[in-house]
């Protein structure tokens, strides 16, 4: 594995449930320390894309490489060990477990726990104080912050995050954007975000792709002039 390997590379990937393909012919390249947003409305195949990368769904066609290594056939549970942190959109927390236990499950072993919690506390001060609270009793925004915190616990090389900004008030969205950018700057982690919220995506990401009916219809740099308006238009049209 060379240091120059891409963090994530998808070549002509199609996948779905059984015979029904939900995403078709997806090509993506994500360099280390890059943040990339996949934008699209519900039912366009965004979550399916992340589940395919994680090995929950088999790749029907194409190839996925993570840090230069083909991941076809690698079981989902081995992904964390390869430095990948995945945060699904739904049922992403163990509601009945404590905040601390949820975070513990983000780490491969117990020994680093105290050290990592201290680091997490610098991002989200409320977390170290409320390790014993049941995760399900946190507010919606706090739960989303806990999700990001858990993904950061193991100091991943690649983060896959599904709709973290959904249903949040702008202050929390902004906070999450700051944390993600800070972590990228500090550790060089690459991130693939799945989003509907264009403002959040443009605040965090470097590049974007718009996914529509399972296919990428547009891709570019988010800093390009007029990209925001173009994406918004694409999201609300057929």
């Amino acid at each position: 594995m060379s240091g120059a390997a891409l963090a994530l590379e998808l070549a002509g990937v199609s996948s779905g449930y059984g015979e029904a393909l939900v995403i078709r012919d997806i090509a993506l390249a994500l360099a280390p320390a890059q943040i990339f947003a996949i934008l699209g409305k519900n039912g366009m195949g965004k979550s399916t894309l992340l589940k395919t990368i994680m090995g929950y769904l088999p790749v029907a066609q194409g190839a996925i490489r993570i840090f230069g290594e083909a991941v076809a056939g690698i079981p989902t549970y081995r992904m964390a060990g390869r430095g990948i942190a995945y945060s699904p959109q739904e049922q992403a927390l163990f509601q009945d477990l404590s905040v601390g236990d949820n975070l513990r499950l983000g780490l491969p072993e117990e020994t680093r726990f105290a050290r990592e919690i201290e680091r997490i506390g610098s991002f989200f001060p409320f977390i170290p104080e409320r390790l014993r609270q049941r995760a399900g009793t946190l507010s919606g925004g706090e739960q989303k912050m806990l999700l990001v915190a858990r993904a950061l616990m193991a100091r991943p090389r690649l983060m896959l995050i599904d709709e973290i900004s959904e249903g949040l008030q702008p202050s929390v969205v902004q906070k999450l954007a700051e944390v993600l950018r800070a972590e990228r700057a500090a550790s060089g982690v690459a991130m693939l975000l799945v989003e509907q919220n264009v403002r959040f995506a443009s605040a965090v990401a470097d590049g974007y792709a718009v996914l529509k009916r399972g296919e990428i219809v547009d891709t570019g740099r988010i800093a390009d002039p007029g990209a925001d308006a173009k994406i918004t238009r694409e999201l609300s049209s057929v």
């Binding site: 039912g43 249903g167 008030q169 919220n197 403002r199 399972g214 609300s236 049209s237």
Partner: protein, 600 residues
């Protein structure tokens, strides 16, 4: 009607021929077989009748039952108790038979009521049928000298018939039952059993009272098992609590699984072979034989879940060089007879909601929804994720769903009625992901959708599927009419969506509930569906409630748009008023807090 006969006759003639051959074999068997074998076979044949009921319940309908032994035991004790305590006379014999069957039927109805009530878990029927034989056995144990307790009753005066006669009775009964079951499972009503196994929810939303049907099936199965038990007691002159027991109940399941669930002939052969061999080996190798059966059962469940007979049949057909696949029965499409539209002439709303709310614990998904829609209106419900759109659809289609408020469909308050009753008021609901019957053919799915309006035949396949014009239009426009014989699982995602829409339209609804009908469809497919929907609203005065994310699609087809946000209606107006409003654009741009401010 007359056209139905040629389509079905060859199949019927074949089963009739086979039945006559089987009856002849039954007739001859006592003259060729030794008396010991004939003697044992009477019992095996009676067991096979019961195994057949297990196959219909479990193999076809998906109701895993451990309790058919209980009904067998009830029949057997009705006979044994009557003959022991009341003596033997034709009158007593008939009375005991009728009485035993009546108790069995009542018990089965009770099981059905317990197991198929609203919201009861699907596995509960297996729990109740496990408990039932245990209870019956204990009741028999506690009967003292009346039931003979643990040793049962024996040596009572019983019907004096030769072994051969018993053999003929049991054999003929089995042949007739198997043939009848064969005809039944291949009939339109028989397809309904498979549909219930596959997707019971869809059946309910096609207006079919599945709980009642399953209970009826339990009752008929109980009657057959009780009759077999009665014959068993009259023949062997020995009854014991084990006949009603849980172990016998599970043995029946084992025989059915080994033979091949869902094949009728597999369970019948399996039962006869295993019981006969057991009888022969019970003297020499009883434990080893039971061990072999146990091992075979585990192996079959793990490796050959379809059982042994289908494997043998497949091999046989390969040897003969025949393909095992039967040509699918492909009926013709016909227009449905015109029916008077429900609520015709009334000027009232097609659907009216007042004060509707839905809470999950402390979470309020819908709050204070007041909404009414007229016939001919195409009303789109839009709003961000979690706004409560799908929940609202659910509350209109199922009386148990809402926490408070009223839902009136075509002038009928739905109260706490289950989905199939709401369908009867004129509701037709299409789900978000295609909700169809994967193993059935397109024609079978469409036919099932008509089951509410045209009672399916118990013994034949309809030669035609009669569809009302809108459903027919969808079928033809999407090319489903050329795929009538195709199994649904081979259809594309878009075709499945179209099929479900056609099925819902076949219900002849007055209020159509559509949850993202175009999700995952190609652009031409969406245009097509959009055109059909607007025509339905305009020409057929259907009231259509549509959940949709795609604002362009909404703009093209709606006559009115309602915006839901955080469980409340925040906007209600014409397309131009709503879609182009700043509020909606803010919601869709993801700045959702702005909405609350704007709405208040």
């Amino acid at each position: 009607m007359s056209k139905a006969v040629p389509a079905v006759a060859p199949e019927l003639r074949k089963v009739l021929g086979l039945a006559i051959v089987a009856l002849a074999a039954v007739g001859v068997a006592p003259f060729v077989l030794d008396i010991y074998t004939v003697n044992i076979l009477v019992r095996s044949l009676l067991y096979a009748c019961v195994a057949l009921t297990v196959d219909i319940l479990w193999g076809y309908t998906g109701i895993l039952t451990f309790g058919q032994s209980a009904f067998f035991g009830i029949g057997a004790y009705a006979c044994g108790l009557a003959f022991t305590h009341l003596g033997l006379s034709p009158g007593i014999a008939v009375l005991a038979f009728v009485g035993g069957l009546a108790i069995a039927a009542a018990t089965a109805a009770l099981v059905g009521w317990l197991a198929f009530g609203y919201g009861v878990s699907p596995i509960y029927v297996s729990v109740v049928t496990l408990v039932l034989p245990i209870v019956v056995t204990q009741v028999l144990f506690s009967g003292g000298t009346f039931t003979g307790s643990s040793s049962g009753l024996s040596g009572f005066d019983t019907v004096d018939l030769e072994v051969e006669t018993w053999f003929w009775i049991a054999g003929a009964a089995l042949v007739v039952l198997t043939a009848a079951a064969w005809v039944f499972v291949r009939s339109d009503a028989g397809r309904l059993l498979v549909a219930i196994r596959e997707n019971e929810q869809r059946c309910e939303y096609l207006g079919i009272n599945t709980a009642l049907l399953k209970t009826l099936l339990l009752v008929v199965a109980a009657l057959v098992a009780a009759a077999a038990g009665y014959a068993y007691a009259a023949y062997t002159d020995v009854i014991a609590p084990e006949l009603a027991g849980f172990v016998f109940g599970t043995e029946l399941v084992i025989w059915v699984a080994l033979g091949g669930r869902g094949t009728l002939i597999g369970p019948v052969t399996g039962t006869i072979v295993i019981d006969l061999v057991s009888a022969y080996l019970s003297g020499s190798l009883p434990f080893v034989w039971k061990l072999v059966i146990g091992l075979a059962f585990v192996l079959v469940i793990v490796v050959l879940p379809q059982g042994i007979v289908p494997v043998i049949r497949g091999a046989w057909q390969r040897i003969l060089g025949r393909s095992g696949a039967r040509a699918a029965h492909v009926p013709a499409l016909e227009p449905a007879p015109l029916r008077a539209l429900q609520g015709e002439g009334g000027t009232g709303p097609a659907v009216a909601l007042s004060g509707l709310s839905r809470r999950y614990g402390s979470l309020r998904v819908l709050e204070g929804i007041d909404l009414s829609a007229k016939p001919g209106e195409l009303l789109s419900l839009v709003g961000p994720n979690g706004a409560g759109k799908t929940t609202l659809i659910r509350c209109i289609a199922d009386g148990h769903e809402r926490s408070a408020g009223r839902v009136v469909v075509q002038g009928h308050d739905i109260g706490r009625r289950p989905p199939q009753r709401c369908v009867a008021f004129g509701i037709g609901r299409k789900f978000q992901t295609a909700n169809v019957f994967e193993t059935l053919t397109v024609a079978e799915c469409l036919h099932l959708a008509r089951a509410r309006l045209e009672r399916p035949s118990l013994w034949r396949r309809d030669a035609a599927v009669r569809l009302p014009e809108p459903a027919h239009q969808v079928v033809v426009a999407t090319g489903l009419d050329r795929q009538l014989g195709t199994a649904v699982k081979h259809l594309s995602h878009g075709m499945k969506q179209a099929l479900e829409l056609a099925m819902v339209l076949a219900l002849e609804p007055s209020v159509l509930l559509l949850d993202e009908p175009t999700a995952g469809l190609t652009k031409p497919e969406r245009t097509l569906i959009g055109g059909i929907l607007t025509a339905l609203a305009r020409k057929h005065a259907l009231c259509i409630l549509l959940v949709e994310h795609d604002l362009d699609f909404v703009r093209e087809i709606s006559s009115r748009v309602v915006v839901l946000h955080q469980g409340r209606i925040v906007l209600d107006g014409t397309v131009s008023e709503v879609v182009d409003s700043a509020l909606v654009r803010t919601i869709y741009a993801g700045e959702e807090h702005a909405v609350a401010g704007a709405a208040s």
